[in-house]
């Protein structure tokens, strides 16, 4: 059910931006979503098709740009993309990181007519 609430927020933002631009139709919504976000693309699309009925965003394409998780090692400052369940630094093998990318979760732009 997570995606339902999120999709509603997303639709609200897109419709508000379209209203400000006095657009007649929203044709595309460009989303940027980090890999750490627990969002299933198909699920968002499903809810979007339902929620956007009778709005000017009905039929809009959702484009998902996924940002890979990136970590910075607190020991040697290397920046790396972790393996599936291995967050150890490939350079110094320490497990002591901060997350620097992968938590993105925003609307980058919308395309309107």
């Amino acid at each position: 059910m997570h995606e339902l609430a999120i999709t509603q927020h997303m639709l609200d933002i897109a419709l508000e931006q379209a209203r400000l631009a006095q657009a007649k139709r929203v044709s595309k919504i460009n989303l940027v979503i980090g890999e750490m976000s627990s969002i299933v693309d198909d699920c968002v699309q499903f809810y979007f098709d339902f929620l956007s009925q009778d709005t000017i965003a009905s039929g809009a394409i959702l484009a998902f740009r996924r940002i890979p998780t990136q970590l910075r090692c607190r020991n040697c400052a290397s920046i790396f993309t972790p393996g599936d369940s291995d967050w150890a630094c490939p350079a110094c093998h320490q497990w002591n990181v901060e997350i620097i990318a992968g938590r993105e979760f925003y609307i980058d732009s919308i395309e309107v007519e």
């Binding site: 999120i6 369940s85 997350i99």
Partner: protein, 215 residues
Amino acid sequence: MEIKVVQNILSANDQIAAMNRQLLDSHKVFALNLMSSPGSGKTSLILQTIRRLKDRIRIGVIEGDIASHLDADKVNKEGVAAVQINTGGSCHLDANMLSHALENLPLTDIDLLLIENVGNLVCPAEFNLGEHKKVMILSLPEGDDKPYKYPLMFAEADVVLINKVDLSPLLEFNIEVFCQAVRGINHDVTIFPISCKTGDGIDDWVSWLLAEMVH
């Protein structure tokens, strides 16, 4: 025509969370968001905390569940005000749900607000409520590999409580390995091993809580 937006999808939630925080601060209420899997001991921790502290501070509780009033009833039996939020299927609490629950609590009569989130290690990590600290509970039967599987939750937590340590002789949970994994993705986290059943470690938890409330 393309319109640049660059707006966080959860910005509406974050705005309401900021208002919740203001409301809590104006009433000098310290609020904790308790998160864990179902069955790892959120309600037991609340009951233990109430029993230790109810003569010293005024406590309020918000219980988030998909359905039922079982948890709020348990808290009420301890003589503490509890509001139950039924999310009606939603897998997490959000700031808007909390703002409605806050309307139903006597905030001027509360020093510590314990918010029990819906049992889930995924979605609650993504929704700020306006709380002062995020506390997550992981119980021994869940396994010591969970930080690898749910990194966001462990990265978000200010405190991790390892519950059911009384089961340690029966299980292959390696507390040292677990703590190392948690600290590896959350440098500043505070960790307490506890047992809500035997009371082990609860003193340390309560001491931390009282110290944070003074700040």
